[in-house]
């Protein structure tokens, strides 16, 4: 990439790290650059240390770089912790009244808080002053910047005040800048791009898919999904409920889905634990629901605000007994949107629970995306009993045994046919039974859905040369990082390609076999300590990976980390 800018904002919780980072990212996206930004924050509301990393380029950017060109240090700790990550031609922007950078790195000291008080009457706006300074360094247009700031803060009092603060930072930086850095942004295209994070993409995807009911209990990192949807509820004609607990959440959506409404819940591992009995209820009653699990570092409370890919095997096997399910693990914000749509369709068409597995990294990372073409969003509700059917209501069989395993669905009050759904083993009419024959027939009916489902699942994505010494295998949110590893491997003397899965279950065995056929050495790259996906490969296709690159410290897998490990492995 000709342009590749890496900016980090660091500071305490409460200093507006997230806001400054978001504005910078948005501004760069408005310039037509491809932007990727991730967040690192602690489980506290004030204090501690948070940072927000932005990377922008004129090629496709899908991961963070570990080298920082501009560090906006809102406090001393940010300097101390991240100075080492600043590139040799990078610069540190800091509060000259409060913070000490020391030698070794270029630094641009400005009286950030003082300027904030002068302009915005609020030292809180120090972050805005700092971001103004940063944007000057990369030669961003000040008017364009002010409009981004205004959009963010709104037209009330704080909008103009912050725009002022940003402009003052901008001026001061220009005035004082002895350095200037080599990498300068230039508008790659005039076209506007969307910039959104994984949770937003899921929320919009669900709304596009016609989800009308959400019941969810707050849990980081999933909470902003329900918050976003609640904010749009009246506009979009949906109901969002925050119930007493996650058990209530999943059972509410089962009730609503049974009544005919597309419904979802969102949670993270611990909340998902509480939902697994409900998951089985959806399986047994064949009620279509979508359950989002935004993984965070477990077990138990673990690291509540940090990322992990530790719930895969749990999601595949959660709840007692056997029943078909779908597990999708979006790779990026585009996937987050489209696979959420797909989740609702598969749920309805196959009358099964669908689990969407994301993680804190995808949930809170921002990325630019081409607009989602809404005309491509199809709503497939599956086999529904048509109005007027059945001719004799008493003949309606909710669980009619069919070759596909799918029984035409009816909703209560859709016709005169009562709809009977049962969590006990039941007959075709939905009433509980005890006999072995009906039981076996119903189990087989449900299992048969997997045959159809298997055909719906897309195989893995591949990237890089068709033949390579090393094939990386990944799943879920790591796609961007893995692609970058592949693209830069040659520079490190490595021949690497990639097979990446976003649609996990039912496992696309055939496509996976095809994709891995020519692989010489395979390395699973995963955010967990036991290589969970590698186990799935082994069970489902008998493939034994040559090695695994694992990370489980709550931090995302970065291209640099993967490359470093890979070089150790092949050394």
């Amino acid at each position: 990439m000709a342009v590749d800018i890496n900016i980090m904002v660091g500071g305490e919780a409460g200093q507006g790290v997230q806001a400054a980072g978001f504005i910078i990212a948005k501004a760069l996206a408005r310039y037509g650059l491809s932007v990727f930004a991730d967040q690192d924050y602690e489980s506290r509301v004030r204090g501690g240390h948070n940072f927000f990393r932005i990377r922008a380029g004129d090629g496709k950017v899908g991961a963070i770089s570990e080298e920082v060109d501009i560090l906006l240090a809102l406090d001393q700790l940010s300097v101390d912790l991240h100075k080492g990550e600043v590139s040799s031609d990078g610069v540190i922007i800091f509060d000259s009244d409060k913070t000490n950078v020391g030698p070794g790195k270029r630094a641009l000291g400005l009286p950030l808080e003082r300027t904030a008080i002068e302009t915005a009457k609020n030292k809180q706006s120090a972050n805005t002053v700092a971001l103004g300074a940063a944007m000057a360094v990369i030669g961003y247009d000040v008017a364009a910047l002010k409009s981004v700031v205004l959009d963010y803060f709104g037209t009330g009092e704080s909008g103009p005040a912050n725009a002022d603060a940003a402009a003052r930072g901008y001026e001061a930086s220009r005035a004082g800048s002895r350095w200037g850095i080599a990498k300068q942004a230039s508008p790659a295209s005039a076209q506007k791009r969307m910039m959104l994070n994984g949770n937003e993409a899921i929320a919009v995807g669900a709304l596009a898919a016609g989800c009308k009911f959400v019941s969810a209990y707050p849990m980081t990192p999933s909470t902003t999904i329900m918050e976003y949807m609640a904010g749009k509820a009246d506009e979009l004609g949906i109901v969002v409920v925050q119930p007493e607990d996650e058990i209530s959440a999943i059972n509410m959506i089962i009730g609503a889905a049974y009544a005919g409404v597309r419904s979802m819940t969102a949670t993270s591992g611990g909340g998902f634990c509480l939902m697994v009995e409900g998951l089985g209820l959806a399986g047994m009653t064949e009620t279509p629901i979508v359950v989002l699990n935004a993984q965070r570092a477990g077990p138990a409370i673990g690291l509540p605000t940090r990322t992990e890919q530790g719930d895969l095997l749990f999601a595949l096997h959660a709840s007692h007994g056997d029943f078909p399910r779908v597990v999708l693990a979006p790779a990026n914000v585009e996937d987050a949107f489209w696979l959420t749509v797909k989740a609702f369709n598969l749920a309805d068409e196959y009358q099964v629970p669908v689990i969407v597995l994301t993680d804190q990294y995808l949930a809170s990372s921002y990325a630019t995306a081409e607009g989602f073409d809404l005309s491509k969003v199809q709503i497939k509700r599956g086999q529904l009993l048509s109005e007027g059917d059945p001719s004799k209501p008493e003949h309606y069989k909710r669980y009619e045994i069919t070759a596909s395993g799918i029984s035409p669905r009816a909703f209560p009050m859709q016709s005169a046919a009562p709809v009977v759904a049962d969590s006990d083993e039941h007959n075709e009419e939905g009433h509980m039974i005890e006999d072995a024959e009906t039981r076996a027939a119903m189990m087989m009916k449900r299992q048969r859905k997997l045959e159809g489902l298997k055909k719906e699942i897309s195989g893995p994505r591949t990237h890089g040369p068709p033949q390579a010494d090393i094939t990386l295998v990944g799943w879920g949110s790591t796609l961007g990082a893995l692609r970058e590893v592949v693209d830069t491997a040659a520079q490190h003397g490595l021949s690497v390609n990639l097979v990446h899965f976003a649609e996990i279950w039912p496992f696309p065995t055939e496509a996976a076999n095809m994709a891995l056929r020519g692989a010489r050495r395979t390395f699973a790259v995963e955010g967990n300590p036991t290589a969970q996906f590698a186990r799935v490969l082994r069970t489902e296709m008998g493939h034994q990976v040559s090695g695994a690159i694992l990370k489980f410290d709550g931090r995302p897998l970065t291209p640099a980390y993967i490359l470093a490990q890979l070089r150790k492995e092949v050394a």
Partner: protein, 283 residues
Amino acid sequence: MVNIADYAGGQPAWCPGCGNFAILNAMKKALVDLALEPHKVLMVSGIGQAGKLPHYTKGNVLNVLHGRTLPAAAGAKIANPGLTVIAVGGDGDGYGEGGNHFLHSVRRNHDITYLVHNNQVYALTKGQASPTSDVGFVSKTTPHGASTMLNSLAVAIAAGGTFVARGFSGDPDHLAELIKSGIRHRGFALIEVLQPCVSFNHRNTNAWYKERAYKLEGTSHQAGDRFAAMQKSQEWGDRIPIGVLYRQERPTFEDEFPVLAKGPLVKQAMDPAQVSALLDEFM
């Protein structure tokens, strides 16, 4: 015209003499009296002997997990407020496993009717103490006798209940009237039913209840008076009041959502193009 034959259902698997039969009949009578057609009624039931009830009549049925009647019922009601939603379960189901949903469903005032068959025992699992077992009730899991009895009606009143009633399977006509009032009530109607279990509760028998149950109707009890209701809820001994203990009007949970005023969610169009304005906001 709806008649009792429209509510004919499967053969009950209850023990002969079980109080559940009378509750089933009272329920059918109430639905017929209200001229509700079976396909407009949704019974959401839990697991336990009580939870089997919907299988023995006609109508929409969602038989869920032990303890989870109320959230499932609330979800269905929100999706389609046109449905008359009746939740049915036992005392263990509702106050044990489902206690949290009970507390908050009462508080939120979902517009559903909730029948708790209170036999003061876990019957389907063969006779363990329940949260409403009488103090000292000896069972295989409580050899020293059960702990303090949960005063479910008092809790419902304290938690913001808007319709709190007690019925008795031994007086099915009275019970049918209660069920009708409960269904007519806008909001969460709790109807706890004293129900003898002939197999596992040899303490609180039909005769035991019969001796004690007396009707609030005709007494000076004011169902609109919260403290009077609270006081009544404390009566459990030689005399046990049946009837409506407390009643109050306040907005239902469903009233909080303006979109529901526009018609049932299940009838609203699903149009992906609706979100295009949202996409613009990300530009």
